[in-house]
Amino acid sequence: MAWYLIVLLVMLLPFEVFALSAEDVMKKSQAAFLYPGKDFKARVGMKLISKEGKERIREMTMLRKNYGEPGGDQKLFIYFFQPADVKDMTFMVYKYPVKDDDRWLFVPAINMVRRIAAQDKTSSFVGSDFTYEEVSGRDIVDDTHSIVKEEKLGAKDCYVIKSTPKAADVDYSYKLSWIDKANFLPVKEEYYDRRGELYKVFTADEVKDVKGFPTVTKRTMKNLQSGHRTEVTYLKSDYNIGIEDSLFSERFLRLPPKKWIE
């Protein structure tokens, strides 16, 4: 009898003793969402849809390689297919935690590689409703996090985390994230502006298992104030494909290897 009681207590224990802090949840989420595997590749389709339903298309191949622990250095290589007149344009990011990222862009029409600087915390990524930071991830230490509640969103048990920026460096005053307890992927995010009004909503619309990594393959960011939204689809997602370090260089920026971008 006593033995059963012990088993029961042990089963209950994780919820008591190993309860996660808000930071832990966000760290796990960052690892699951932005850092799974050694590297990652996907054909990304972006639809920029205006309030009137007019569309702009962005299509690109995105390659990503992790260096070190989740939350650490990362390198990104993006090759654009669409819009048609930017075909062959490439974009490279060296992402560092804490300090500003390095970015290069190759402009094929004038055969020129330029370093570019952008206000990544507020600037829109290629005209979409995502900021650069929302694509590449925000440093966890930039915000204070707290667990507001735990609730079910659809069939998913979620933590609801409130993240408040320490500095007023972004357009929102705080963000609520619904993090799936099962896989730590974000299910939904709500962005509240400086007036405290909800203005942007992120939803993970489709999650697929790719080589054992749960991956968000369809997502939407909607700006409630402008009525504009961006729908993103990941096709041909793959992990651990062995991307070489040399890819992330000016040479390949100018002449991206076919095997990686196709």
Partner: protein, 786 residues
Amino acid sequence: MKRFSLVEFSVRHPKLIVALAVIFAIAFMTQFPKMKTDTNPKNMLPATSDVRVWNDEVDKTFALYEDMIVVGIKNERGIVNANTLSKIKNITDEIMKIKGVASRDVNGFPTITNVTAEKGTLRVAPLMTDIPKNEVELKAFKKDLFDNPLFLNRIISKDGKTTAIYIPLEKGANGKEIADRIREIVKKEKGDEKYYVAGDPVARDTFGAEMFKLMGIFSPIAGMIMFIAIYLMFRNLSLAISMMMVAMISIIWSMGLLIGLGFPIHIMSSMSPVFLMAIATDSIHIFNEFYFRYKERKDKKAAIIETMLAVGRPVRYTALATAAGFAVLMFMHIIPVKVFGFGLAFGTVALRLLSFSFIPAILTFVKEEKIEKASEREDIGLSRTAQLLKNLSSLGAHKPKATVFVGLILLVVAVIGTTKIVVNNNMVEWFKKNSEIRIADRVMNQALGGTSLGYVVAISREDDFIKTPEAMRYIEGIQRHLEKLPVVGKTSSVVDYVKRINRVLHNDDPKYDVVPETKEMIGQYIFLFSMSAKPSDLDNVVDYPFKKANIWIQLKTWDAQGMRDVIKAVEEYKMANPTPMEFKPAGIAYFNLVWNDAVLWDMLRGFIIAMIVVFVILAFNFRSIKWAIVGYIPLLFTILLIYGVVGFIGKDFDMPISVLSCLSLGMAVDFAIHFISRFKQRLVEGQESGVGSQESQIKYPGPLTIDSRLTDSLLWTAARPGKGIMRNAVLFASAFSVMLFAPLTPYITVGAFIVGMMMLSAIMTIVYLPALITLLKGWLFKGGDV
């Protein structure tokens, strides 16, 4: 006849009539809480009008905001210093927190997208992310600010003393509330800086607030003035009260009806109470005649019925003419004018209904001895006013040729004046010169590119055409051509962004400040820009498929002529440089132009319709075309004289004036109707008795020739109904004179116009009708026709 029975019924059941009128008034009053105002100039034209449909389409295509507030910040010692810049940052931050502000697209130093190259790095980011802290940073900021041609005259003046924050508003936001909030925010900042809040929504919503003030304060004052004037004329309080009651009831009825039907109060309908009050003075003719009749009969009830018999026909016809004048407005294109015409036509009919029921009913309540006392003064022989009027008309009757000759000279002068008339609606100038809004507008127009915004939309036939060097160079050419116009302060388009990127990519080399050579370059530059700019930066200037481009034109004037010049310049450029692209104007400045022209054509149409309708009414009333013509002449003369004055003093011929020109026909014709009707009645009465009427018998004893009988009747008419005319004109004018003190110029214009017109047309009627009748008697009385 039905109407006589209404008078008799009212005299028999006065209490019932009063009770009914009040009950109806209460019923209409229940609608008042539903009152809304609409001061959006856009609603001058229906939502289905071509210009609005097109402008809406342009707004959608280019994600433009309908409403924008502009805050000007000026520091005589220059804007670029850490202190002022930090204020600008604070103010911008605070403004972005205001509800109703489209924060994402607020453009000022801290938020506007800048494209620069620093040490080989291309940077697309807001201009001032951090406040420059030291001399080095300040210097760098200054360079950023003045080097980017997109900023010059937009967010920084050439002399570096003035900047602006452009604040777009979400749909349905209240511009005045936001503007008030902004004023509070800037008030908190101490220092040398001066702040100016301008922009369409501010003007519009301030106008709305002033309008309510006008209705709430000026209408009652106008009422009080009329009340005092009536009392001074008749020395009888109950008469003055009854007249005011009639006016009040008709105001309540018609405003209640308009509100009840769901019409918002516009600038024009806000003036209706004053109009109705003034029109109510037409019942002065009833009182006027009643006093004379009572003095003759000494029997109140009989005097009432006789009075109504004598003045009933002219009062009915004048009401008809006035109502017709208003009803004509319903055929116009400008919505507030239509509503105004409808409300006033209804109000005028209501007034007349009350004249034949409510007034006789009230007259029965007036104590006989009071009337007797007051009416003692009503003697043609004794009254000084009557004597003066008689002298005036004898001028016309005895020296008709000289009078007409003088008139002709005045007419020629007036016609010269009318040729100088300029049709123009400038809504900023609806505010007084020293009003905050006008000052803000003036300062910003001096320092920056201009507060009035128009667009020229380039439309090509195929997608992506805008990205071709051909299209780019063409648009650039048009921009340079338009900038030569003195009214154009600044133009901007997608070309400016492309050129900027081109230059920045090439290490800021001025050689590259041109349109790139290939479509690929342009496409990639635009993409490069859109990679980190605000989505609206590009959306505002090109459509999604790159088929259309939007050229922003900042004008330094709100005059309609400004946009007309722009359109003409675009056409000239197109003629000289053929292109497959089409260019169409849009924006508020264009709307103002279209609206302005609509006002002109509406006015012309309305004026012609009013002329015909009034003429027909006159002809029916007099049962003679000839008399209608005679009655018409002083009227036209009056209007021509007023327009002559408008032309000479250089006042813009705007919407209020054009509306008045239609109305004035219907209102000024009253005097001619009264004069001629009563004159002809008098002539018949004299003919039947074979001698002059009772009073004049004493003064003009003995048998009378036709001529002397004519003159006698003319002078009698001038003295007796003429007094009613003068009283009517004075009351009318006194009510409207209040508007001369209004805070908004359209009201002042209307006040001055009506005061001038009523006084002038009364005098014209009394001087020129006798002259014309005397001169044309052979023609008028041919075949013994009277």
